[in-house]
Amino acid sequence: MIVNFILNRQPKRYDVDFDETLLETLRKDDVTSVKKGCDASSCGTCTVLIDGKPILACSELTVRVAGKNVITVEGIREEVEKISHYFGLEGADQCGFCNPAMALTIYSLKQSLKNPSSDDIKKYLVGNLCRCSGYQAQFKAIKRYLGDPL
């Protein structure tokens, strides 16, 4: 069936199966920033923003996204470069498989919470698993990014 939605501000038209997930649709279209880390909606590596909210693309059927606004890191390049800049300074980059999803969640955090506490930040990120870093360098980078004017 045909589904139309906005991906990174561009109208997109996909021919999909009724049970196809947004993750499958995006990866087939070479949107490689969206990763498949699990099959149980629990790792967070497939996070995209749908109408501004972080959503797991592995558990969202593409047909349900019709007419909506989908953003991946490709769509907020300038902000991702800033986040990445602070990740680099803090040594928060390791394998990076969770990083595009993490960047979207961090961007969404900045949009939705004003002056978040450390606990707020940790809670906001609890759905984005990272096995490499120990999270601490990421928190430092996030705090620096949050202090950076939008």
Partner: protein, 769 residues
């Protein structure tokens, strides 16, 4: 040092975060055949009959493989150098299935749905056999897990499949039993460690295609591309020259990707169908059908004088390698060789035991392998002894632990799978690490416990650890530097960046030697066609081994540059001075810049490509050391634990990139804390691994740690590149013992079985009262 020991951002972090193609599956051909694997529902069975006719007939199915259709040549998936210290006990597919999740058959089809449907059409008749599920009953069990006659060891490792023994080992320095009898005090305890899961974010992934020369080209999420090429060639009888393995970015490995997973099936499918194919493990397959850490039972006896001078350590280990013997012997040996030398002043040591097969998910390499298990047991026992002697556990360690310029006979006796290499501790800042950590955690104020009211107790605990820097005389790395026009360089290395940042730190080493900046070093790594050899990312080897190779390539490049400049300036090479940008000579009025010289070399005069290669193998394995301190708050009613702070003070020589080194330590700490506190692979009574997703197998999240405090000791290891030792594994070793010791300090109960859950503490508390 201008580049080394500086905090430089990773060279690929931005591109990765921006979502550029980077990982194995990003490079799969669009029209790849999808491979799916039919896996055993039984812990142990023989396939009596397998009918794939219906599956083969299904439109869209290109190939179905069973044990009747694949070469029968035993190999090991361990991903080690050759000959491997692991038994060759695995076939691509076999008539026996040895754990729930073992491969029965494979299907290649045009899409996921067709492949799935084809799997469902395969009919298998099993003769179900009695499985061996309790590793303490595996030896001489009536079920023999590997009855096949064509499997073998590559050299003596104690391989006795007829009694379910994958390997065994025995070493002794003097007579430990006799010395223990003469000690004032002897403590003894038995510890159990669990089958931790690697849980890297990127699943095992591999894809293949044939290139224009009809050669097999694999992209693989692997830590060992050169071993993968060799093992495929050997097991599938394909000339090694017809195989190319490319490792792109890897989404975490931690040892799990040292071994081979889908590589054999993907290679076979593409070779047989002549079409591109790919295999991406589901998360369930990653948990059930890749590897775990080796579970162990460790019995430790330590004897000392009443003043606290250690006299003997006696250690017996039973290790569970699961269905196949990957790393059976080496993990076992490291439980001794990377733990016992810390207490080098004892009169006698014995270390011995067996590695057994069971019908469970195979155990394999996992960050800190052996060391974390051995460390938990020995460092817990040291605290038990300290309490018995009424000595502060830190003081007891300080009296007995290894120091700079000392050695241990164990280094010479025990290597990894073979004999070891004698070495002196040219750098060992363990004394500083302990003192500094003691201050940072506030030991004197907090030891053993502080009652903070509301049933909450705060306590501290600690442990010390050592690792190695590669395997001497075995691990090797090579690096090639190529000068380009305008004066920038390519650095090609076999070394395998799996997220630890080796591409970045190796570029830093090259930039430091060549007196330039990291942006002038373009790195390309881990491609068996295009980069020089490297054994791979394991055994904490990359910084030390591959780093030394880069350093040597850099020195040769400097020589080559000086020679070229001397020709250009018409002076002797000895008279040339180079600052990274400009060549000058007291014998010439006209300096020449690197950019000018490079352009001259490629366009104008004396044209010549400047390329240099350095390679390195270790003749010793200088250990990084650390002291780890934990502060916890524990509820004396519920035994719930909150981890308030983890202090790590690490001697890894020069940290080439302090922030990335810190990331290695902290990532290791949090994985170690996961193992110490709650990560638990669970099996059903029938032997199925039931903790097979992230809902049932919890790994640490952003909420689990309050604070990590990480510092490095000033240390310079002369044999390492710019004074560096390795740092990839050391972080993971101390948390289990440190947590166990802190729990004891809080509540007076000793937990000897990992993970240390509130439930176990609660039960022990109530048992005690």
């Amino acid at each position: 040092m201008k580049i080394v020991k500086h905090e430089i951002s990773s060279i690929d972090g931005k591109g990765i975060m921006l979502g550029h193609k980077a990982y194995t599956d990003d490079f799969a051909e669009r029209n790849s055949l999808i491979i799916k694997v039919l896996r055993s529902p039984h812990a142990f069975a023989r396939i009596k009959k397998i009918n794939v006719e219906e599956a083969r007939k299904l439109p869209g199915v290109e190939l179905v493989l069973t044990h009747h259709d694949v070469p029968r040549k035993p190999f090991t998936r361990a991903g080690q150098g050759y000959p491997e210290p692991s038994p060759h006990d695995k076939f691509v597919l076999d008539e026996y299935v040895r754990y729930v999740g073992d491969e029965v058959a494979a299907v290649a089809a045009i899409d996921e749905k067709t492949a799935q449907k084809a799997l469902e059409l395969i009919e298998v008749e099993y003769k179900v056999l009695e499985p061996v599920l309790d590793f303490e009953k595996a030896l001489n069990h009536q079920s023999i897990i590997h009855p096949e006659e064509d499997i073998h060891e590559m050299f003596p490792i104690g391989f006795k499949p007829e009694i379910n023994q994958a390997a065994s080992y025995h070493m002794e320095v003097k007579d430990a039993e006799a010395v223990l009898k003469t000690c004032d005090v002897v403590v003894e305890e038995t510890f159990y460690t669990q089958a931790q899961a690697h849980a890297m974010m990127e699943p095992h992934t591999v894809n293949a295609r044939l290139d224009v020369q009809d050669r097999l080209v694999l992209y693989a999420s692997t830590q060992t591309p050169f071993h993968v090429r060799r093992i495929i060639s050997q097991a599938l009888d394909v000339p090694i020259s017809r195989i190319r393995v490319i490792k792109p970015r890897v989404g975490g490995g931690f040892g799990g990707k040292q071994g081979l997973h889908g590589e054999m099936l993907v290679s076979l499918v593409t070779l047989r169908t002549r079409k591109p194919s790919k295999l991406v493990y589901s998360r369930k397959e990653v948990f059930e059908s890749s590897y775990t850490r080796h579970p162990m039972r460790i019995n430790v006896k330590i004897g000392s004088t009443k003043e606290g001078k250690l006299q003997a350590i006696d250690c017996h280990i039973l290790s569970d390698t699961g269905a196949y013997g990957e790393h059976a012997l080496t993990v076992f040996m490291v439980a001794g060789s990377k733990v016992l030398p810390m207490y080098n002043k004892v009169d006698a040591v014995r270390f011995h035991g067996e590695v057994v097969y069971t019908n469970k998910t195979s155990a394999g390499a996992y960050r800190g392998y052996g060391a974390i298990q051995g460390n938990f047991a020995v460092e817990s026992t040291i605290d038990i002894l300290a309490h018995k002697l009424k000595i502060d556990p830190i003081e007891l360690r300080q009296m007995n632990m290894i120091a700079e310029n000392e050695t241990s006979p164990i280094f010479e006796i025990m290597g990894e799978g073979t004999e070891g290499t004698a070495m002196n501790m040219d750098t060992c800042k363990l004394d500083y690490c302990v003192e500094r950590g003691k201050t940072l955690i506030g030991w004197n104020e907090k030891y053993p416990r502080v009652d903070v009211g509301n049933d909450k107790i705060r306590s501290v605990g600690m442990a010390i650890a050592m690792q190695g820097s590669g395997i001497p005389y075995i691990d090797m790395g090579a690096a090639t530097l190529k000068l380009n026009d305008d004066g920038f360089y390519n650095l090609t290395i076999g070394a395998t960046d799996i997220g630890q940042g080796s591409d970045t730190i190796l570029a830093q080493i090259a930039a430091e030697v060549l007196m330039t900046t990291v942006d002038k070093i373009v790195v390309y790594s881990s491609d068996t066609d295009l980069t020089p050899f490297d054994t791979g990312a394991y055994a904490s080897s990359t910084t030390y081994i591959s780093g030394n190779a880069v350093y040597k390539a850099g020195l040769k490049m400097l020589e080559a540059l000086n020679l070229a400049a001397s020709k250009a300036l018409k002076v002797t090479a000895e008279s040339i001075e180079f600052d990274g940008v400009t060549f000058t000579s007291p014998d010439s009025k006209n300096p020449i810049t690197l950019s000018q010289l490079s352009n001259r070399l490629y366009y104008n005069e004396d044209q010549e490509q400047l390329t240099t290669t350095g390679s390195y193998f270790g003749t010793k394995s200088p250990p990084p050391f650390m002291a780890g301190f934990i502060e916890i708050e524990i509820d004396s009613e519920t035994a719930e634990i909150e981890i308030l702070n983890y202090v790590s003070v690490v001697d890894c020589g020069t940290p080439i990139n302090p922030k990335l080194a810190q990331g290695q330590v902290e990532g290791g700490i949090i994985q170690g804390l996961g193992m110490a506190h709650f990560e638990d692979v669970k099996y059903s009574k029938k032997g199925q691994l039931i903790s097979n997703d992230w809902l049932t197998y919890k790994i640490p999240t952003s909420l689990d740690i309050k604070k990590l405090t990480t510092e490095f000791a000033e240390s310079y290891e002369k044999s390492g590149p710019y004074g560096a030792k390795s740092v990839g594994e050391i972080g993971i070793d101390t948390p289990p013992a440190a947590l166990a010791n802190a729990v004891y300090n809080a509540l007076g109960v000793r937990i000897t079985e990992l993970p240390i859950t509130p439930e176990k503490i609660f039960n022990k508390l109530h048992q005690k009262s």
